[in-house]
Each structure stands twice: as structure tokens, then as C-alpha cells.
């Protein structure tokens, strides 16, 4: 018998969301979107609750969560760094920028720094291709980023 612990208010919120989708299995992805909004990420426990509410297996929920890169099972850092790997950004060197972030922060895509300050993710096109390659930190957009700029960008957040 595995025991799972989650804060009651948030679980209630999640259950209400499932209910608002009529606990329909077909709405699994929409429910997971909302769940990630509530919890910031999708830990195993949240997936268990969703599975129970929508009457699907946890393995199936995990199958969806692990398939889509948008869903994350690790908490996002205080500052969430997203590097656009859309076509325009990619051809203008986004991968080198990403490599530099990985090196500077010493984490992989989908991970957070041990102090919980930064997390790293990739996305596909933010609609600012003219500024390629584009990096987003929280809501702030950085355009025409070169690998040399990375250290400076991270330092902007050092005292925040």
C-alpha cells in the first residue's frame, strides 16, 4: 500500500478541474495542462490523482506526460529559462546557446539547479523569429542571443 501526500486544497482544486471536464478520459491532456498550472509540475502523486479521477491507468497518464516535452515531472526553478529550438532559431545557432546554458548551469534540459533557482527547457517558436535565436526567462524575451551572452544573462538574476 503506497502512501501519497499532497496538500488538500490543491488536490481539491485538481479534482474540481477534472470534474469541470466531466472526468472524461478524452480530456486527459487538458486536465494535465491545468494540473501543471496548479502544482507547477506534475509529480507522480498528481498523476495518480488524475488517473483515479479520470479512471485511466497511471501508466497511461505517465505515457502522456513523458511523451510531451511541455509536461514536466521536476519542479521549475524560480527562473525558468526556455530556449527556442524552432526552425529559425535553430538555423541561427540556438543549439550552441543551449549548450552554453547547460554548461554554465551544469544541468540538462528538463532539470533544475540544485538551489532551485534556474530550470532549463526547450520550446518550439515563440513567434519572434525576427529576433532569432530567442531565449525566454520567465516572461522576459532575449533576442539575437549568442553563446558569449549567456553568462551575462544568468548574472542578471544573481541578486534577484
Amino acid at each position: 500500500m503506497a502512501v501519497i501526500k499532497l496538500p488538500e486544497s490543491k488536490v481539491q482544486q485538481l479534482k474540481n478541474i477534472c470534474k469541470s471536464f466531466n472526468n472524461d478520459k478524452g480530456e486527459l491532456i487538458n486536465v494535465l495542462h491545468k494540473a501543471q498550472e496548479i502544482f507547477g509540475y506534475l509529480p507522480a502523486e498528481v498523476q495518480e490523482v488524475v488517473a483515479k479521477e479520470l479512471n485511466v491507468s497511471v501508466a497511461h497518464v505517465y505515457g502522456i506526460v513523458s511523451f510531451y516535452s511541455f509536461f514536466s515531472m521536476v519542479p521549475k526553478g524560480k527562473f525558468s529559462i526556455s530556449i527556442c529550438l524552432g526552425t529559425a532559431c535553430y538555423v541561427r545557432g540556438a543549439e550552441k546557446v543551449l549548450d552554453e546554458f547547460r554548461k554554465q548551469l551544469n544541468i540538462q534540459v528538463g532539470e533544475s539547479t540544485p538551489d532551485g533557482r534556474f530550470s532549463l527547457s526547450c520550446l518550439r517558436c515563440v513567434g519572434a523569429c525576427g529576433l532569432a535565436p530567442v531565449v525566454m526567462i520567465g516572461e522576459k524575451v532575449y533576442g539575437r542571443v549568442a553563446p558569449e551572452d549567456v553568462k551575462g544573462i544568468i548574472n542578471e538574476y544573481a541578486n534577484l
Binding site: 501519497i4 496538500p7 495518480e48 491507468s57 497511461h60
Partner: protein
């Protein structure tokens, strides 16, 4: 019924609308090769994700090649299944699949019975031109099943079985692209998942990705140990399937040859699980009557319907999914465990040996039995009632290993006392059989009259859920039967919601019952094999002198000498068990 006319390889064929190209081609004798596709015809078990692309064919007027399994025929369609374009595409697809598959066929447990291997042979693949990184994953070993995901070709048959048919939900495709694997949630090991060890994933896996834990070596060591007395019990469904491994027609009964083979292998006593099946009926049938009489006398606290408890995968299923109903099933242990328990007490005492020097081996059509004999309730001071459980397939390999020419063996009889059984016990191996056996005994115990007829045709068949009413001299006993855990779930939900109309329900986890067990010779989707095995069991039942469990003289003797009577204190101690809540609890803080 609307008919559609089309041409396949210049042969004209007329089929029902909605038929796939694959099935239309079969109708005119054209066998298009398949890999991911799986169909157990007439049992609503089908897998056609159209994913592997091995079955591609050329359809005139269509730019791309079409997967034959997932493309419906249309009027006037012209199909080519063997054009150069098709053959080249099929070869390329196969080469690409093999480029991410280990080349350890020589030591793979599936070698010789592997659909991927047969297909590579059929397609004449002689080298793999595509070299590169291969996906790797850790091996996962559970008490019953081994997952070797490196050998997985992502056909999704296991996922279909585990989710759509069994509704267990242990396996799902996870991750994407090169990292994609079929695994339990959060990539935990099978042992931590809600897996019931029914083994249906193993039964349909086309490669060596899912196989059983092989215990043959441990049995060989025990047989070689002069300090051990090694006895064996064989489940009813084994005798109706073992012959297939030696080239005999499906449905060949090989009971006598199997007994001879086991003796040649060196077992000191060859006994029959059927003996314990008769014993199960004594206990379970008495429990049914006890609950029924109390209910009829007005006791509304009695839990009805009573559910059979012979199937360990089914026990796992309700422990995981319906823990609130754990006092509903019969407390009777499975025949395998009843046998072990009686062997290590009653029989060990008769032989005058310590239970630690008696090794009990079971031959089972089942993989969950491997797990069941390790359950802690079935150990006495760390010594298991049943030491090792081998599947039908393992026994066949063992016989071949020992250079025994199975087909020329003489027929011989089981040893006494634990080898005598009735026809009622034989049919335990098929869906409907346990409840029919229980009815035969319960009827006579309840009415104190002889059965007017022994055969209960109304309980037989292969439909997933069946219902029948049996007249107990004025009392209408309502019986439900389900095989396949998805079907069982339906009946269980009715029980949970208080809507069940039945007095007794029989459940077997595998489609067809034990004849279709996860440890049986692979049927490769041929449902006629299951039907033949079922027919064989009913035939053996018909040919038995005794056909009611309570008439088994050695069962009567066992109660007289040792147990007292059904449901006695001794019986409770040795033949009954309890169930546990294995569900995942979500605790809110």
C-alpha cells in the same frame, strides 16, 4: 451485409464491407506478412496499430503504400502484395527494425519461437545495412515475468492486452522517439506496478522482450540432490496443451505421456493438481453452501455472491483494484497451494520426512503461479508449500533437454494418494469449469440427492461474460462467469455497487481460462487452439469414472485421516487464506 469486390494479386475476391486488405487476401490464400498485428479471432482481441509497416501493399491509384492490416477494402480496389516496390519497402522496414534489435538470437529464450526471427527468415534478410546506436534499457525481473526491453519492437500487443483486455494498466508506451519504451508508470519495475502476473503480455509478445522467469535449473538441482524427495503436481490445463510442443495436434490429451516423462525426469512421485482441485471444491463448495444457507435463513451480513479464488492473477487484480471487496471471494486457497500445503504436512508425515527435505514442484499453464508460491502466507518458517512452479513451456523444454522422446513414451498413471482425481477437477482448466465442478458437488451436498445430469452445458462456452441459472431442487442458483480481467472488472463493479444478481461467480484471469494461460505453448493468435484445448478437457472429464469431487476416495480418506471435515479448524489452517489491500492510497494532508 454489403459486399465489396476487389482484386488482389490478380485474384478476384468478394468480401464484406469493412474487411481489411489483410483479411481479404487471406480469403484467397494470400498470407501477407505481419508483425505488430495480432488477432485472437472470435474473442474480441485485436491489435492493429498499423505501426510496424511490414504488411504494406500497393494499392492502384494510391501514392503511398498502404498497411494491409489497417486499410479497409473499397469497391474495385486493385492490390498488389508482392510487387518489387512492396518487396523492397518491406525489406527496408525489416532491416530498420532489426537495426535496433540485439543480435543475440543464439541465447535468447524466444529463439525458435520468435515471430521476428521467423519473419526475418521468411523475408530472406541476410545482413543489416543500417548501423548505428541501439536503444538500451535495464532488464526488469519480477517473480514471474522478465522484461528485456532491448528486444521490444514496440508492436504494442502487450499494451493492448494489459489495458484493453485485462484493464490492469501496468504497461504503457512511454517517452518518445528513440527513447520510447513500453513500461510501467514512472518506469518503475513490474514488481512495484499493479501487474497481476497474468502473463498475457508474454503470451502475445512476438519477440523475447517479455518472457517468463525460468526455474528449470533450480528444479534440476533439487532432483540431483540425494537428500531431497522431489514431488511434482500438474495442473489440468497442461495435459491439453503440452503435446503441441512436440508437434501433436492442438487438443491432443497427453496425460499418460506427461506422467511418464515426469517419472523419467526423476521426480520421486508424480501427483496431480487435480487432486487438490477436488479438495478445493470440497472447501469452496462447502463455503458457498454455508454462505447460502445463512443467507436463506435471513442473515443479511453474508457476503454474496461468493467469488472463486483459484486464480492467482485474479487475486492480485482484486487486491490492487477492489480492496474494499477483499472479504467477498472464497477464502479457499488455489489448488496449487492446497496441494503444497497437504504435501508438506499430510504427505511428508506419511513418508516420515521433514518438510524441508520435501521439494514440491508444480507444472502450471500460468506465470502468476510463480509469484503465488512465493507469497509469504504460503511459507512455513521460510519454507514454501510449493518450492518451484514451471510453466507448460518450461516443462516441454526440460523434457527436450533430457533427451526424452515424448511421443514414443508409454502412458502411465499418477501416483497415489495425491494423484487421484475426478472429472470435476479436470475441467478446472477452462473457463466455466471451476463453477461447474462446484455445482456438481454443492448440488448433491445441498439436496442430498444424486445429480440428474452431470454435464452443465449452460455453464460452458467462450463468451467473455456468461450467466446461467441452476435449479437446486427448487432453489434457483444464479451463476456468473467471467474470463479475462476486463470482463471480471464488469462483474466486480456490479458487486461493488450492490447490483450483482449472482449467488456465485467464477473468474479466471486469462481469456479462455487456464487453457489460454500465460505459461502455455504460444498460440500466436490462433483461437482454434484454445477451443481444441477446451474440448480436450471436457473429453477427459467425460472419460473419467468419477466426475464429482466429493466421490474422490482419496479426498474422503484425507478428510477421515487428517482434516476432519470441510471448513474444519485444520482445513482453515491449511487450505484457506486471507487477502490484502494492495491499492495505492492517496492520503491528503
Amino acid at each position: 451485409m454489403e459486399l465489396v469486390k476487389l482484386t488482389i494479386d490478380k485474384k478476384s475476391v468478394e468480401v464484406e464491407k469493412g474487411t481489411s486488405i489483410l483479411n481479404a487476401a487471406r480469403k484467397v490464400g494470400i498470407e501477407i506478412p505481419t508483425l505488430c498485428y495480432f488477432n485472437l479471432e472470435g474473442m474480441n482481441i485485436e491489435n492493429k496499430p498499423g505501426g510496424c509497416r511490414i504488411c504494406v501493399v500497393e494499392v492502384q491509384g494510391r501514392r503511398n503504400l498502404a498497411p494491409a492490416c489497417a486499410t479497409e477494402v473499397t469497391e474495385g480496389m486493385v492490390v498488389k502484395t508482392n510487387s518489387t516496390r512492396v518487396l523492397n519497402a518491406r525489406r527496408t522496414v525489416m532491416e530498420l527494425i532489426l537495426s535496433d534489435h540485439p543480435f543475440d538470437c543464439l541465447v535468447c529464450p524466444k529463439s525458435g519461437n520468435c515471430e521476428l526471427q521467423s519473419l526475418a527468415h521468411r523475408l530472406g534478410i541476410r545482413d543489416i545495412p543500417y548501423q548505428g546506436e541501439q536503444s538500451t534499457y535495464r532488464k526488469d525481473t519480477s517473480p514471474s515475468i522478465i522484461r528485456d526491453v532491448d528486444k521490444c519492437i514496440l508492436c504494442r500487443r502487450c499494451e493492448m492486452m494489459c489495458n484493453d483486455i485485462q484493464t490492469v494498466g501496468a504497461l504503457s508506451a512511454i517517452n518518445r522517439g528513440f527513447m520510447a519504451v513500453v513500461a510501467p508508470a514512472f518506469e518503475m519495475n513490474l514488481e512495484k506496478s499493479p501487474c497481476t502476473y497474468c502473463g498475457q503480455c508474454v503470451a502475445v509478445c512476438p519477440t523475447g522482450a517479455l518472457t517468463e522467469v525460468d526455474n528449470t535449473r533450480q528444479v534440476i538441482s533439487a532432483l540431483a540432490d540425494p537428500t531431497k524427495t522431489v514431488i511434482v503436481q500438474t495442473a489440468p490445463a497442461v495435459r491439453a496443451a503440452l503435446g503441441e510442443e512436440f508437434g501433436l495436434e492442438p487438443g491432443s490429451l497427453v496425460t499418460g505421456k506427461m506422467v511418464s516423462a515426469l517419472r523419467e525426469l526423476g521426480f520421486d512421485y508424480v501427483f496431480d493438481t487435480d487432486f487438490a482441485a477436488d479438495l478445493t471444491i470440497m472447501e469452496e463448495g462447502s463455503e458457498l453452501l454455508d454462505r447460502l444457507t445463512r443467507y436463506l435463513s435471513g442473515d443479511r451480513n453474508v457476503r454474496l455472491p461468493i467469488l472463486t479464488s483459484c486464480c492467482p492473477a485474479w487475486v492480485n487484480f482484486f487486491e490492487h483494484n477492489f480492496p474494499e471487496l477483499k472479504d467477498v471471494p472464497s477464502t479457499a486457497r488455489s489448488p496449487q497451494q492446497m496441494f503444497g500445503s497437504i504435501a508438506k504436512t499430510y504427505f511428508a508425515k506419511k513418508l516420515g520426512i521433514d518438510r524441508n527435505n520435501l521439494v514440491v514442484v508444480s507444472i502450471m499453464p500460468c506465470l502468476a503461479k510463480k509469484y503465488e508460491c512465493q507469497r509469504s502466507e504460503f511459507l512455513t518458517d521460510g519454507n514454501p508449500d510449493v518450492d518451484f512452479s514451471l510453466s507448460t513451456r518450461e516443462l516441454a523444454n526440460f523434457i527436450k533437454l533430457a533427451n526424452i522422446d515424448f511421443n514414443s513414451l508409454p502412458e502411465s498413471d499418477f501416483d497415489r494418494p495425491l494423484g487421484e482425481s475426478t472429472g470435476a477437477a479436470v475441467i478446472f482448466g477452462t473457463t466455466g469449469g471451476v463453477i461447474e465442478a462446484a455445482v456438481r458437488t454443492a448440488y448433491e451436498l445441498y439436496t442430498k440427492k444424486p445429480l440428474p445430469r452431470v454435464d452443465f452445458e449452460e455453464l460452458r462456452g467462450l463468451e467473455g461474460v456468461r450467466a446461467a441459472t441452476v435449479n437446486f431442487d427448487g432453489l434457483e442458483l444464479r451463476i456468473g462467469i467471467a474470463h479475462g480481467l476486463g470482463n471480471a472488472r464488469q462483474l466486480l463493479e456490479e458487486v461493488r455497487d450492490g447490483k450483482s444478481q449472482y449467488h456465485a461467480i467464477e473468474i479466471m484471469a486469462c481469456p479462455g481460462g487456464c487453457i489460454g494461460g500465460g505459461g502455455q505453448p504460444l498460440h500466436h493468435g490462433d483461437a482454434s487452439i484454445l477451443k481444441a484445448r477446451q474440448k480436450a478437457l471436457y473429453e477427459e472429464d467425460r472419460n473419467k469414472a468419477l466426475r464429482k469431487s466429493h466421490e474422490n476416495p482419496y479426498i474422503i480418506q484425507l478428510y477421515e485421516e487428517f482434516l476432519g471435515q470441510p471448513l474444519s479448524e485444520m482445513s482453515h489452517h491449511l487450505l484457506h487464506t486471507q487477502y490484502f489491500d494492495k491499492s495505492t492510497q492517496i492520503v491528503i494532508e
